[in-house]
């Protein structure tokens, strides 16, 4: 290990020209990050910009040797081979999805993998004393023996931090810590971070909520398309939300979308006063009085941050496949319809392409042809007996027209690349001949070439007079594709913009703040 000179302004962490490549894709390219000791450093960027990858490199998830560049931490070049190694050095990462075990108590979770022992037996008395101390430090007033599942997400987040403190953390990384929290829990967490800063703990925070970043961060590094764009000093540079947004979205739009002349018709699908409750948490709402409509031939975008309730809205409309339906109406072609099950929704002419292809969209054991017909077996069967020839013909047709790259339609979908998998999923829904097709993150994890093709398919469907809803975290994608864009924030629709009035800045504003008027 190399020893380095320390400057007057102590740098706790420096990541130098980090480059991380996956086969065929450069996720990070020459990224630099300098974090001063004792500061709160925010990392901002759009989804997919490379923030998480960078943090995975830092915490040893991608071990030393799988990336290029140096990590200098506490004046030494580090070669973390796994998460344990980085934790040993005092770097603790808290993920958005919490890594707590719901059935175990707060105390057991805090000491999981790090149990205090006396002659090989767990010393619960000691654990209890220490966890009470730790809970006091994070400001959580709960009995350490309370099971995790009985406390809310906000408190669980605090337990995660207590767990980190127990590992004598020096650099705490929080990935979207407030995404799932309500206002007061978020505020408490932000105050706690400032408190930790007072005790000399350095934090890196990744967040989409720019107002929070503005409030607590000392410096901000902006990442865009896998490159570090700039590092801002919040106090000195007079940074505000607009300044951050400008850095985040400042990319030039190349021609990433096929040319398309929209042919927009009548309103045919309308959702009114839509209210849906969280499936498990009794009082939490995932859709709050939402109203929207779709015209024939129109591509409607839904913009919102992760966790804003876009998917929840779409799935609750799609045959109430998510959440507890509370109230609301759906009009289709002027008639009231009740879509109580996915089957009814499909029969009524809805289709939903999920954002989570692998766990919700595909049966990875199936082949292309079985997947293609799986949502409309009726059409390929007679008296409930499936016509294998028809299945083959249909699948082959879609494989050709969507240009799915596979040796044959008998290839297993698990073997396909993300872009081709998505084409198979699109084929599956096109085969149901839907009037309204909802596409949830249709290009997530798909490379640029395949994206272009998928945009083309979407536009083609719209030209056939179908209504299309596109949910996406990538604003350029929504701007390039949609004729009209709704914005969602915390379960409520906060605005709607026509194509010509929408820009990344206007959208981002509506996506990150509650409705100001009415």
């Amino acid at each position: 290990m190399t020893s380095l000179n320390t400057h007057s302004d102590p740098i706790i962490l420096e990541m130098r020209s980090i480059t991380k490549e996956f086969p065929g894709v450069k996720a990070l390219s020459e990224v630099n990050l300098r974090v001063k000791a004792g500061e709160i450093h925010a990392i901002c960027g759009e989804n997919g910009a490379g923030k998480s990858t960078l943090m995975k490199v830092l915490s040893g998830v991608y071990p030393y040797g799988s990336y290029d560049g140096d990590i200098v931490y506490q004046a030494e070049v580090q070669q973390f081979k796994d998460i344990r190694a980085s934790e040993h050095a005092g770097i603790v990462i808290i993920h958005q999805e919490l890594a707590l075990i719901p059935e175990l108590s707060i105390m057991e979770n805090i000491f999981l993998g790090n149990e205090p022992t006396k002659r090989g037996v767990i010393d619960w008395a000691e654990a209890r004393i220490r966890s009470t101390e730790l809970l006091a430090r994070v400001g959580l007033r709960e009995d350490p023996e309370t099971p995790i599942k009985e406390i809310g997400v906000g408190k669980q987040q605090l337990v995660e931090i207590a767990k980190a403190l127990n590992k004598s953390v020096k650099l705490l990384i929080l990935d979207e810590p407030t995404a799932a929290l309500n206002e007061s829990d978020s505020q408490h967490l932000l105050d706690l971070m400032l408190g930790l800063k007072g005790r000399g703990i350095t934090s890196i925070i990744i967040s989409h909520k720019l107002n929070e970043i503005e409030q607590i961060a000392d410096s901000i590094t902006i990442i865009r398309d896998g490159k570090s764009i700039e590092t801002l000093d919040v106090k000195a540079d007079g940074v505000d939300e607009d300044r951050i947004i400008k850095g985040m979205v400042g990319r030039t739009l190349e021609s990433r979308f096929p040319d398309h002349e929209p042919k927009i018709g009548e309103v045919f699908f309308e959702v009114k006063n839509w209210n849906v409750g969280h499936p498990q948490v009794q009082d939490r709402m995932v859709c709050k009085n939402s109203n929207f409509f779709v015209r024939r031939g129109e591509i409607v975008g839904f913009a919102g941050l992760m966790g804003a309730g876009r998917t929840e809205l779409a799935r609750s409309v799609f045959g109430r496949s998510y959440g507890r339906f509370l109230s609301g109406q759906i009009h289709m072609d002027g008639k009231d319809v009740e879509l109580k099950s996915v089957k009814q929704a499909i029969d009524a002419g809805l289709g939903y392409v999920t954002e989570d292809r692998k766990s919700l969209g595909l049966n990875l054991l199936d082949d292309i042809k079985a997947t293609t017909v799986s949502a409309n077996l009726k059409k390929v069967s007679k008296h409930n007996v499936i016509d294998a020839n028809k299945v083959f013909t249909v699948a082959e047709q879609y494989r050709k027209s969507l240009r799915t790259k596979a040796p044959s339609v008998e290839e297993g979908v698990a073997k396909l690349s993300g872009g081709n998998q998505q084409k198979v999923v699109l084929a599956k829904w096109m085969f149901t001949d839907p009037e309204l097709l909802i596409l949830d993150e249709p290009t997530r994890g798909i490379d640029v070439g395949a994206k272009y093709e998928i945009y083309g398919i979407i536009q083609q469907l719209a030209n056939q007079g179908k209504g299309i809803i596109v949910i996406s975290s990538e604003l350029p994608e929504l701007l390039g594709l949609s004729d009209r864009i709704y914005t969602i924030f915390e379960g409520a629709i906060t605005g709607v913009l026509n194509k010509d009035e929408a820009s990344q800045e206007t959208l981002m504003k509506l996506m990150t703040s509650a409705r100001k008027t009415a």
Binding site: V61, H95, E97, V342, L360, N363, L365, F392
Partner: protein, 422 residues
């Protein structure tokens, strides 16, 4: 090796099991000095295992859907004793007894299906409870006695195809059945070739089809010969006939019908199936119900074969059926498995049992060997999966296999990172 692969199609795992079955039969035929492939022994083997194989048919569907059924032995015993009592005490004819037995199976299945599918209790628990309930019920209604059944009813468990037509030294109906089998196999091969050609899909070379047909038809004809030349009065057994019919029906349902696809879809990825409009609760209900109906049928066949119902009928059957299904290539996680594979798996166990018996190996060692066979077969499956679904043949030529690596445009989710990191 490539030729072999062509011969048996893409499904190399099934091929592996058939290969193992043939190897076992040849081994025992040699080791027992020809006592394995005698008409008497083969008929015996079929009669003594048909009820397990029938259970395996239902069980494979349950396992494909991602569940398990531990109650089949008890359900079989309960249905058996009830039918024996109906016939003895109410004096109803044998066919009505069978119908009532099947009806009882429907009721029991609806009970188990209700708890599994609509209440959402894991099938393991529901059927563990069913195992206790119906075992107790069998002994309660039968007062732990053996209850005999009339000779007519015994036929379904121990009857044979009758002698019809001119006496040519063979059983005519058995011969007819064998010829029908051959005709069916030849016809379907021709049809599948014609279809493939019409669709522009890959048509296997002619010699592949011909060799395949010769092997399969040879096996069928040899079996026909064995069944048709047994000692006078024996021929193709009735339970074997029932089994064959069920294999054809369920093989068809599982691979060619909408409900069959739905079973695989629910087992493969329940959420994806639901989001494609599959009513997974209904599927689960039907699968559990069907299992109990087949268990009832198996129970009746067993009662017919042993001429009476008893308090300990069907003990341990669930394990034999489950073992057959897993040896036959089903995955513990659901979504994978075939009816024919499970039958082959069941036959592997049956041949092993029978051959070891003929060799005079004790019950103790037989159990050890069967246990090891089950473990090795499933270990093989698990190992295959961890290697990125390599086939058996792929394993033999390991160096040529593809390694599983992250595809270009896949990114890992935070969840994956968490599970990897800790």
């Amino acid at each position: 090796m490539n030729a072999l692969k062509k011969l048996f199609g893409g499904n190399t795992r099934q091929f592996g099991m058939i290969f193992a079955l043939v190897a076992l039969i040849i081994f025992f035929q040699i080791a027992t000095d020809g006592r394995t492939l005698t008409p008497g022994n083969v008929i015996n083997l079929f009669n003594g295992n048909s009820y397990i194989l029938i259970l395996a048919i239902g069980m494979v569907l349950v396992i494909i859907a991602g569940h398990i059924d531990l109650s089949v032995g008890s359900v079989a015993a309960f249905v058996g004793v009830c039918v024996a009592l109906f016939i003895r005490d109410w004096g109803i004819p044998w066919y009505l007894g069978i119908l009532m037995g099947l009806g009882l199976g429907v009721l029991i299945g609806a009970w188990q299906g209700f708890w599994t599918a609509y209440v959402g209790i894991p099938a393991f628990i529901v059927t563990l409870s069913g195992m206790l309930i119906f075992r107790g019920a069998n002994q309660y209604v039968g007062k732990s006695n053996t209850i005999p059944v009339p000779a007519d009813f015994q036929k379904i468990g121990s009857g044979y195809l009758p002698e019809i037509g001119p006496n040519i030294g063979y059983n005519n109906l058995t011969l007819l059945l064998g010829l029908l089998g051959v005709a069916f196999v030849v016809f379907s091969e021709i049809r599948s070739r014609r279809n493939a050609k019409a669709l522009g899909a890959e048509v296997p070379e002619a010699w592949v089809s011909i060799v395949k047909l010769i092997l399969i038809c040879g096996a069928i004809l040899y079996a026909t010969y064995l069944f048709a030349t047994g000692r006078p009065g024996t021929s193709f057994p009735i339970p074997g006939l029932i089994l064959a019919a069920l294999v054809i029906i369920y093989g068809f349902i599982s691979s060619k019908t909408v409900i069959g696809r739905h079973i695989y879809a629910v087992g493969g990825n329940r959420h994806a199936a639901e989001l494609s409009g599959v009513q997974s609760k209904k599927v689960n209900f039907l699968v559990m119900m069907n299992m109990s109906v087949l268990a009832g049928l198996a129970g009746m066949i067993f009662v017919g074969r042993s001429t009476a119902s008893g308090p300990f009928d069907g003990v341990g059957w669930e394990l034999d059926a489950i073992a057959a299904v897993f040896i036959g290539g089903a995955a513990v996680t659901g979504g994978v498995g075939t009816v024919i594979g499970s039958i082959v798996g069941g036959l592997v166990m049956a041949v092993l049992n029978n051959g070891l018996q003929l060799l005079g190996v004790g019950a103790d060692l037989t159990q050890i060997i069967k246990g090891l066979v089950l473990l090795i077969a499933v270990a093989f499956d698990v190992y295959n999966k961890s290697q990125g679904k390599k086939s058996i043949i792929g394993l033999m030529f390991k160096n040529f296999g593809r390694s599983s690596e992250l595809k270009a445009d896949e990114t890992t989710s935070t969840k994956e990172v968490i599970s990897r990191g800790i």
